[in-house]
Symmetry: C2
Subunit: 490 residues, 2 copies
């Protein structure tokens, strides 16, 4: 047991030892029932007298923290208040208390449940990713093993801050195959596309206070922009995408730092920006000299129609394009990327290097292997087929079980965006659904303006992560939940 005692402090040594042990016990590092070292060897190890150790033990025994049993030693008492050492506000320095101010600001919803995984009884229509059981685990295992064998300890070393060259080349090919023209030199690998958005937003801090976003918008982008000090300004959408008049008005106001858009199968609405609108948005952004951050989080998951030109292809150096393999291969890898041209690339690279050096090398090496042998294409084809079936199952179930609700059929992606009947509140319905064993994503945090009349009227439903049978079951439970609140079928 290593404990740093400080002979020069005023606090007596036995008290220091007691504090250190008490902390270990209260925090659970020393488990209830575990044996403490005998006083003689511990005193030798710590370079203190045996009396010091005995005094500390006696004091803890008096407090019921430990139990001493004659002939067998000292043990951590079995019943303790184990857990986090909670600090009262009085103990905090003022700078910490200042952090409490504004801590109730909206939009930052931390998915602490993420990673826990769903269970058989709960249908998860709330998640933001694809079906983990379809992830190519065996391919990934093989690719990891191959990377470690071929690269040896290099695979554990730092990567080029831009990203592993072979991986960037393959990313450029994947992008090209979906009609996004970017060279490997335009690609910067990041810790997930969330970091890519963060770097772009950080880079543009000086330009203005407003982040122009679609309304509704990806909730974690809103949280990110707010946490960096931006005020998000939502632009309502029609069937073609972001409406041009409010966009022009926002740009004319001159407070916009950037436009953030997800033109393909948007999170949360599933909507796709049409080709004409894409050109118009790029043209407007150019006229008002405003950068566009394009987020193509599931560009590969198209179920119908054809690829449309990306904003990046249309707008050249006026646009930055971020994407990820998280949604389709392995969310926890945290490998995304951003494409940019000109000085923006160099500044993003600097920021990336300053903030987190480089993306994990082994993950990039493994992904490069999966991409290079065509496994990714096969995986995408399989995922597309499955997800399209599931989308149809969900929309069918909605039509059957949720009269008065509305959802457009998305032509790709992961989400259906369900409009609730007038008067039914999305938070109330999400709660009622959870009690019936189905998790849905309340659309409220997707609105830049919490006072937006639409803010309480939508749920985001993931149709990709569960089987068609479970989707139908989930929508059925949602229907019952709505009925319990007096809406839809009784």
């Amino acid at each position: 047991m290593k404990i740093a005692l400080d002979h020069s402090r005023e606090t007596p040594l036995y008290k220091q030892l007691e504090q250190a042990l008490r902390h270990r016990i209260e925090s659970g590092l020393l488990e209830p029932g575990s044996r403490l070292p005998a006083s003689r060897p511990l005193s030798v190890e710590l370079g203190v007298s045996r009396i010091t150790v005995e005094s500390a033990y006696s004091s803890m025994e008096a407090d019921g923290l430990i139990e001493r049993r004659a002939g067998s030693g000292s043990f951590v008492a079995r019943r303790q208040a184990v857990g986090r050492v909670l600090l009262s506000a009085e103990e905090l320095p003022s700078w910490q208390r200042a952090l409490l101010v504004g801590a109730d600001r909206p939009g930052i919803e931390i998915g602490l449940g993420i990673g826990g995984g769903g269970d058989e009884a709960t249908v998860d229509l709330a998640t933001g990713v694809g079906d983990a059981s379809l992830f190519p685990l065996a391919d990934f295992k093989a690719a990891m093993a191959s990377a470690l064998s071929r690269e040896g300890s290099k695979a554990l070393g730092y990567a080029d801050p831009r990203g592993v060259q072979a991986f960037r080349t393959l990313v450029a090919r994947v992008l090209s195959s979906r009609g996004v023209d970017a060279t490997p030199e335009e690609i910067l690998v990041t810790s997930g596309s969330q970091e890519a958005l963060g770097l772009a937003a950080l880079m543009l801090r000086g330009r203005g206070r407003e982040a122009i976003v679609e309304s509704p918008c990806y909730a974690s982008a809103l949280g990110l922009f707010r946490s960096l000090g931006y005020a998000p300004r939502g632009i309502s959408m029609d069937s073609g995408g972001m409406r041009l008049e409010p966009l022009r008005a926002a740009l004319r106001d001159g407070r916009a730092a950037f436009i953030y858009a997800m033109p393909n199968f948007q999170n949360p609405s599933g909507a796709r920006m049409d080709a004409e609108r894409r050109r118009a948005v790029v043209e407007l952004a150019g006229r008002y000299d405003t950068p566009i951050i394009e987020d193509d989080f599931v560009g590969d998951l198209r179920y119908e129609g054809r690829d449309l030109p990306s904003l990046y292809t249309l707008g050249g150096s006026g646009v930055m394009h971020s994407a990820t393999f998280s949604k389709l291969l392995a969310p926890g890898l945290r490998v995304g990327f951003i494409a940019a041209k000109g000085p923006a690339y160099e500044r993003l690279l600097e920021l990336k290097y300053c903030l987190s050096m480089s993306a994990p090398r082994l993950s990039q090496e493994a992904l490069a292997r999966i991409l290079s042998v065509g496994r990714y294409e096969a995986h995408i084809r399989r995922s597309r087929r499955r997800y399209a079936e599931r989308r149809d199952a969900m929309l069918g179930a909605i039509a059957d079980c949720l009269p008065g609700f509305e959802a457009k059929k998305p032509s790709g992606g992961l989400f259906a965006w369900l409009r609730l009947p007038a008067g039914l509140d999305s938070s109330a319905l999400a709660d009622a659904a959870r009690r019936r064993g189905v998790l849905v994503f309340d659309g409220r945090p997707c609105f830049a303006d919490p006072g937006d009349p639409d803010a309480g009227s939508f749920l985001r439903l993931n149709f990709a992560a569960e089987s068609p049978e479970r989707i139908v079951r989930g929508v059925g439970a949602l229907s019952k939940a709505a009925a319990s609140l007096g809406y839809g079928r009784p």
Copy 2:
């Protein structure tokens, strides 16, 4: 070949096709000598007339981009200007041109060479990490395979944004073993300790313009703080650490957002803050209500003496403590962490979630396995023994070959900090050394004030990454380089 053509654009289809192909060729996505699809199947695939494809090909042939051979098809010409498509400043939007302003600011040195790895001929005394050949590659392989087998597709999913619970518990044990008291609930796992520093600095943005740092200071921390808008203010050090008088003066000025300190075996100086100074710095910071960011990047690599209490243990909720396994296990894993109490922990977690969601799950699972079976302790013991020998080899070689130079013996860590004879410039010596096959780290970017008289007078030498023989060879080459500039032994 998938190419997005837009029928509604004014640009003729053949021109769109040509532009798309030209881009692929110029960027190297279509390699020299590769065959292009024949015009008939391509026209069918793209839904255009054959004339369109023929026109595009003819235009490119006229420009020498492709070669058409009768009877065998069209090929990308073998000699091309391949590489990055460079944009002239005229083509850039104004917001991009604005990014060029201030792009020459000091302190951000991006290690693009990192990841390339050294070669037999070059002795690398410049690196910031330990010896990759000592990294426990076999343990790591086994741990990865075990995590993938045991966790299945969950290992590829998102982690808890705080970090994998089992991993945080083991991190708390490792910290406890080096005298840092933190519960698992106080630990936030990050993408390397660089991200940990970035989160803390971002959180404290509103407090003041100055980042109070040791002088010299870890260069990448200076770059990070500057990139977030801080002005670093260096506090000179004596044998006990940061000097108290200039520190008090800096805090009294009221512009300090935080104090950043590396009390153990500092990068770059190798210096250790003594116990009395630690208490005094914590006490001063408390008096002026200024948070401390403590960076313990190699706390485990102590070769002599005993552990001293961490600032975190001394300062409680007034201190945040970051550390990493990068330097000793696998730099490219990008797994670090920060310990914090109270509201600071919650705000750091929010920022972490907003900026990059969560740290890579598989890496945490693998590290947890290595930590739980005691492999880490064995690895640390082995590394300590080796590195201490290498340190002695380096200091011996410096004493033998570099008269007029000075280096104190560090009691831990990775670096010796070499003061050059008066008049010899560190950049000139680093250049001359590189020409003689030895890489050293020029100390210049480690100074907050580029005009500091010490800024051109130091080299940082890594004694951990190379064998004793190669260290002696490297110091010999450095001695010759100095002699070529008229210093030391001829």
